[in-house]
């Protein structure tokens, strides 16, 4: 009987303890109280801890955090890599362990849950903001079409078109001018598709980014429509007729056999003899619509281009109109200070240091220039998704450009490319409220890409309905995020305007 009693008591104690442990998971917020003393630069002199959650290389961010802590010795920075934004952040919010600063890929999640605090006060007083790429302030990337700043870009990589010079040479074609137009690019894709039946076919285009994604930004002159986002978004509403032209053009190229097969497909096996081949490693594709990372992470690694007989140079995403300076579609993570942060100013400084700030970029350059520093996979950090600076600081850019080929043959391509990417426009899910919902609940669901790619539908047939849907989702999101049930920063006129869109939808 005594044994039984002891066993039962232990069981009950273990259960009670485990429950207590569960209940105690709501830990105190990091950092000390904000009422502490402030230094000359306005930062606290108290010992505080800030948490930073991100999507970047862990080693890079770890080293950047160290550099920040060196600059602000009283601030401790704890970093964590996000594996899934929604899951990680909602779990942290529920558990009371929300990070002070985070950088994310899906702005709808952050806005819908009021994760970000209003940082207008800091951004507008910040002299560093004058040094940033012009579209950041001009388009308010991080303002989400309100008059407040909710976030700032933290990581930027433009889309890029690359050309394999060896293929152009083999096919006796001329290299196009670096400030080419959209039509010139399409013509090159067609000219460089050669199937002489004696060997492996040459394809004009290999793609990661569909051309319609690029076309949405490059579709017209700014005088015709001031496009500042995907799907012809001008800050008020969408116009998918621009996207429809690019979509149809791309699908027509695919159907006509100008586009190389994708990896892990039967078509790839039929073409290259290997199911797993990547078109970028065949030496038989002329133009690549790729992410910028493909160059740094693969083509720029030692011996890669020699192994596959490639000579890759970058080209700016062309515009339909022959404009010297035009926007370029880009991946731009948006970061913000969390609404529960107790030290918002210090958190803002951290956000800036990790993202757009010149100080932070100088610290990054120290890291990227040293090839002996590698991440957990043994890769030098400049080959691990290295972003592009968003500051226009000449010192930073001089150091950055030095990381790329500087020989006479290649330098001019890189110089022209870098000078053409100073007007980034982020993809919709980073910068347009409701964009994610629109894609998730309408655009991706009806499978427009597949329908048009198969030749079973024309993109123009969807343009009108898709525009109406996109405007509805955007208006609904604006009301939900920034209206009275959200941040409550919209004026009565703005509310009335968005309500007019939602109420007229479907009528």
């Amino acid at each position: 009987m005594k044994k039984k009693q002891i066993v039962a008591a232990i069981l009950a104690a273990v259960m009670t303890l485990s429950l207590t442990a569960c209940g105690g998971s709501k830990t105190a917020k990091s950092g000390s109280d904000n009422s502490g003393a402030a230094g000359a630069d306005g930062t606290t002199t108290d010992e505080i801890t800030l948490t930073y959650w991100h999507y970047e290389d862990e080693t890079t961010i770890g080293l950047l955090a160290e550099a920040f802590m060196k600059k602000y010795p009283n601030i401790t920075v704890e970093c964590k890599q996000i594996s899934d934004m929604s899951t990680d952040l909602s779990a942290a919010a529920a558990a009371g362990t929300f990070p002070d600063v985070f950088s994310g890929t899906d702005s709808d999640t952050a806005l819908a849950n009021e994760y970000w605090a209003d940082i207008t006060e800091y951004v507008e007083k910040d002299p560093d903001m004058g040094k940033m790429m012009p579209t950041i302030k001009e388009y308010g990337i991080g303002k989400f079409d309100t008059d407040r700043w909710w976030g700032l870009p933290t990581w930027y990589q433009p889309s890029a078109v690359f050309i394999d010079r060896n293929v152009i040479e083999k096919l006796n074609l001329e290299m196009p001018r670096t400030d080419w137009t959209w039509d010139e690019m399409i013509q090159l894709i067609k000219d460089a598709t050669v199937d002489d039946r004696t060997g492996m076919k040459y394809y004009g285009l290999g793609y990661y980014n569909r051309l319609d994604s690029l076309y949405g930004i490059a579709a017209c002159s700014t005088a015709e429509r001031a496009i500042k986002g995907e799907f012809g978004f001008d800050g008020n509403d969408f116009d998918l007729s621009y996207w429809a032209i690019g979509e149809q053009q791309f699908s027509d190229l695919k159907l006509a056999g100008y586009v190389a097969p994708q990896q892990n497909t039967q078509a790839m096996e039929d073409w290259s003899g290997d199911w797993g081949t990547w078109f970028g490693a065949t030496g038989h594709v002329a133009v690549f619509s790729e992410g910028f990372w493909s160059y740094q992470n693969l083509w720029a690694t030692e011996g890669y281009q020699d192994t596959y007989g490639l000579d890759i140079v970058p080209y700016v995403t062309p515009n339909v109109v022959d404009e010297k300076e035009h926007n370029v579609i880009a991946n731009m993570y948006i970061g913000g200070v969390s609404s529960s942060c107790e030290h918002p100013y210090e958190a803002y400084l951290l956000l800036k240091f990790m993202g757009i700030g010149t100080d932070g970029w100088n610290a990054r350059m120290d890291i990227y220039e040293d090839n002996s520093i590698t991440n957990a996979s043994g890769v030098a950090l400049q080959h691990s998704n290295m972003p592009v600076p968003m500051t226009l600081d000449e010192g930073v850019w001089a150091r950055y450009k030095a990381l790329f080929p500087s020989d006479e043959d290649h330098k001019k391509y890189w110089d022209d490319y870098f000078s053409s990417i100073t007007r980034p426009v982020p993809y919709g899910w980073y910068s347009i409220a409701g964009y994610w919902n629109f894609c998730d609940q309408y655009f991706n669901k009806i499978g427009i890409h597949d329908l048009v790619d198969n030749g079973t539908a024309k993109s123009a047939d969807y343009a009108e309905e898709a525009t109406e849907q996109a405007n509805y989702y955007h208006a609904e999101a604006m009301l939900s995020y920034f209206g009275p049930t959200g941040y409550d920063v919209l004026s009565d006129e703005e509310i009335a305007r968005y309500e007019a869109v939602t109420s007229s939808f479907g009528q």
Binding site: S86, T87, A112, S338, S340, N437
Partner: protein, 349 residues
């Protein structure tokens, strides 16, 4: 003595030993009670409450916005994937449960026979329960380890598709393509059947054999009726297992809705999904209960009938007794009031 007092049971004071035993008993079940209250009843109530709200967990507070049945309409009108997966799940469960249970029974009977290395084979069949769970299972499935490559499942689907609805045909196709998984899912059921088979009285088989019963007849007349309750138990266990494991698309869907940051989804939306799903699972369990639920056999029915007849007889006897007593009292009263005289034998009526 009054009637009430007659019915009241005599009060016996609990001895110290008995009280201590009771306390120990409660102490033993306490972890279970706490577990059920904290991890079942409380979350159940909480999710029932949540499903009527749109819940936004901001870093500063949790916002509850009343939407009534809004989550349900949102699911049915805006999320075509959910009803589609629900239909697939229903068919898959109805098809897979009998297959798993029958497979488990066959294996259990084989393992219960006289074979060499019995313990080793039992271990082999139970091993997937321990090893193949969680991320290991996901990895194996993604590597295609759950299917038999030589089996042309598309041909099965095509053949079925010609005379069955598409969702049923694909469910059967799924079954064939995940044949190995059926084997993995049978570990616990095999153990339950083994313990049931070992409880069957061997003398029954002996008697049947002496009467010339074949193995086939013994299975249908002795084994199956004896382990009938365990078949239901295993069927219910399998339904619950299939409904809650990590390979279940609906579970993944609910989980992703729960952590989704979009304005429509979140805890409220996921709770509504979970409750609808729970109702469907309960209905499937009920279906198997109706199909396999214990029906009394002929001997039990005869005993019950006899008991009822005896009770009826007792009631009749009591009624006759009561009537006799009543008549006696009536006669007595009549006699006393001289309305009626009993015959005294003088010949004068």
């Amino acid at each position: 003595m009054s009637k009430e007092k007659k019915l009241k049971k005599p009060k016996i004071k609990q001895g110290r030993l008995e009280a201590r035993e009771a306390r120990v008993g409660y102490l033993f079940v306490l972890p279970w009670i706490i577990g059920v209250l904290a991890f079942l009843i409380y979350p159940l109530g909480q999710s029932f409450y949540y499903m009527w709200y749109n819940i936004r967990i901001t870093p500063l507070q949790t916002k509850f916005i009343w939407v009534g049945t809004g989550n349900f309409t949102q699911i049915w009108l805006e999320n075509p994937e959910f009803p589609k997966q629900l239909v697939t799940y229903i068919w898959q469960t109805i098809v897979e449960v009998p297959v798993i249970v029958v497979f488990a029974l066959i294996i259990a009977m084989m393992l219960n026979g006289k074979i060499k290395c019995k313990a080793f084979f039992r271990l082999i069949f139970f091993l997937p329960v321990i090893i193949v769970s969680g991320p290991v299972m996901n990895m194996l499935v993604s590597e295609g380890a759950s299917s038999i490559p030589a089996m042309n499942t598309q041909a099965v689907v095509n053949a079925m598709d010609s005379f069955l609805p598409y969702s049923v045909a694909t469910s059967i196709g799924e079954l064939f393509s995940n044949m190995i998984m059926i084997l993995w899912y049978s570990g616990v059921q095999i153990l339950i059947f083994l313990s049931a088979l070992q409880k069957v009285d061997p003398s029954l088989y002996e008697a049947a054999k002496m009467d010339g019963g074949s193995g086939w007849e013994c299975f249908w007349k002795i084994t199956l009726p004896t382990i009938k309750n365990f078949i239901l138990l295993n069927a219910v266990y399998t339904v619950i297992f299939l409904s809650g494991n990590e390979q279940n698309e609906l579970i993944n869907m609910i989980e992703s809705a729960m952590f989704s940051g979009t304005k429509e989804k979140g805890y409220g939306y996921a709770s509504a999904m979970a409750w609808m799903y729970a109702v469907i699972v309960t209905l499937i369990v009920l279906l198997f209960f109706l199909l396999l639920g214990s029906k009394k056999d002929v001997y039990d029915r005869m005993v019950i009938k006899r008991r009822r007849a005896l009770k009826k007889e007792e009631r009749l006897v009591k009624r006759i007794e009561r009537r006799g007593e009543r008549n006696v009292r009536k006669l007595e009263r009549a006699r006393k009031s001289h309305k009626y005289k009993t015959y005294d034998g003088n010949g004068d009526y």
